[in-house]
Homo-oligomer: 237 residues x 2
């Protein structure tokens, strides 16, 4: 039997997260409880939800109160790009284009919502360095959220924070099997990893962390900020 | 040691594909050669490149000849949405929004390009039923391509053909851990699977097939056509 190239582990964490909780510490303990020993070059994908809660990025918002929601979007410093009924597509202070500035009423106390971490790249770096200390292990960390996209139905998980890896793998300098220089291929592997992780996280199952082993990441000082296409290069803003 | 929830296998296939080649037969033989026995509920992800070649969807186009490229895009029946330098963002006859109607000069004889399969959902169904016959196994099949997207740098693999599974997993009817009804979550799991597969395929490595085991797919008669957002519902066309 051939060995799999990539393996994906779900890491359940019991109990809620609240302001001041140490995500990396609980995550590391949960890995140990699950019998999963983190290894160098593992990618640890963390749903932003537990990061936001730990960072106190929670606000009151009555369910379905779109006026309150819009006020909160504005308070978050996001700009409105499009509206359609109750849907508001926005650009966040991080540059992410997503619904409602990432404000999310799921998996949080009714009447409250989570906001995106203020600096998810920094949050990812912080989790990564704490894991290094706890486990003497050199992993990459991705913080993810579920975003819709243009043109295609359905949402996918994408990377909103990245640490310890480059967010894209550039095939620009390589040649294909015919020797043709691959000019424009720059794979957003951090987003593919976030999508991979989503499949073991589900939406309501208490699995806020996934560990992906064997992915072809390039190590280095990367960030999710690099995944934001500059407005002047975007043809669809 | 905990068992991984998802495992991903790369399936190398030696030699080129040409018109008339039977993708499912070569794929099945390659799995056997790799010691990989397909199982029910596996997702077999196939790069469109070998499907296009097998279906004779190849055309002559001198490298970098943008006039010839534009003529070919028009011949493919695609419409031009945006232009920026040599980049042409188009909508294909299938409804996919992508660069150059999916015309691709990589991994093909210099001076030629591959075109998208005319009906990738049908191609996926055909591979799936042939695999069922060859291996007495009930897998899902995804045909993938590498597309750019709005707002975010880098490309990801997405599903352009689907058979034997629903392309999205709908959390609409479920509640989260607080009992809140999840209203808008409809995960494009077929795209997440395509992205997962990309990581073992690479771009130039002779691995045109990946097998994903353990993914939370819902079986049924699905198609990639369902992933195309109708134009009247799209805020960014």
């Amino acid at each position: 039997m051939t060995a799999p190239a990539i393996t994906v582990f779900g890491v359940p964490i019991e109990g809620e997260f609240a302001k001041g909780d140490k995500v990396a510490d609980r995550l590391f303990a949960a890995c140990e409880d699950a019998g999963l020993k983190l290894q160098d070059d593992d990618v640890v994908v963390v749903t932003h939800k537990i990061v936001s809660k730990s960072e106190g990025r929670v606000a009151r918002m009555p369910a379905g109160d779109w006026e309150a929601r819009d006020a909160l979007i504005a308070r978050e410093g996001a700009t409105f790009l499009r509206r359609n009924g109750s849907i508001a597509i926005t650009k966040t202070i991080h540059g992410f284009v997503c619904a409602s500035a990432g404000i999310d009423a799921s998996n949080v106390e009714p009447g409250t919502v989570t906001l995106l971490p203020l600096d998810p790249d920094r949050s990812a770096r912080s989790i990564r360095s704490r894991l290094k200390r706890l486990g003497q292990v050199d992993v990459a960390v991705i913080i993810c959220d579920t975003f819709g996209r243009a043109w295609r139905n359905g949402q996918t998980n994408v990377a909103i924070g990245v640490a310890g890896m480059l967010p894209t793998v550039n095939y620009r300098d390589t040649t294909d099997s015919f020797g043709t220089l691959l000019k424009v291929t720059n794979i957003a592997v951090a987003d593919e990893l976030a999508g991979t992780a989503e499949m073991v996280m589900g939406k309501a199952d208490g699995v806020p962390v996934a560990v992906v082993r064997g992915a072809p990441i390039r190590r280095g000082r990367g960030s999710a900020a690099e995944l934001v296409r500059p407005a002047h290069e975007d043809l669809f803003l």
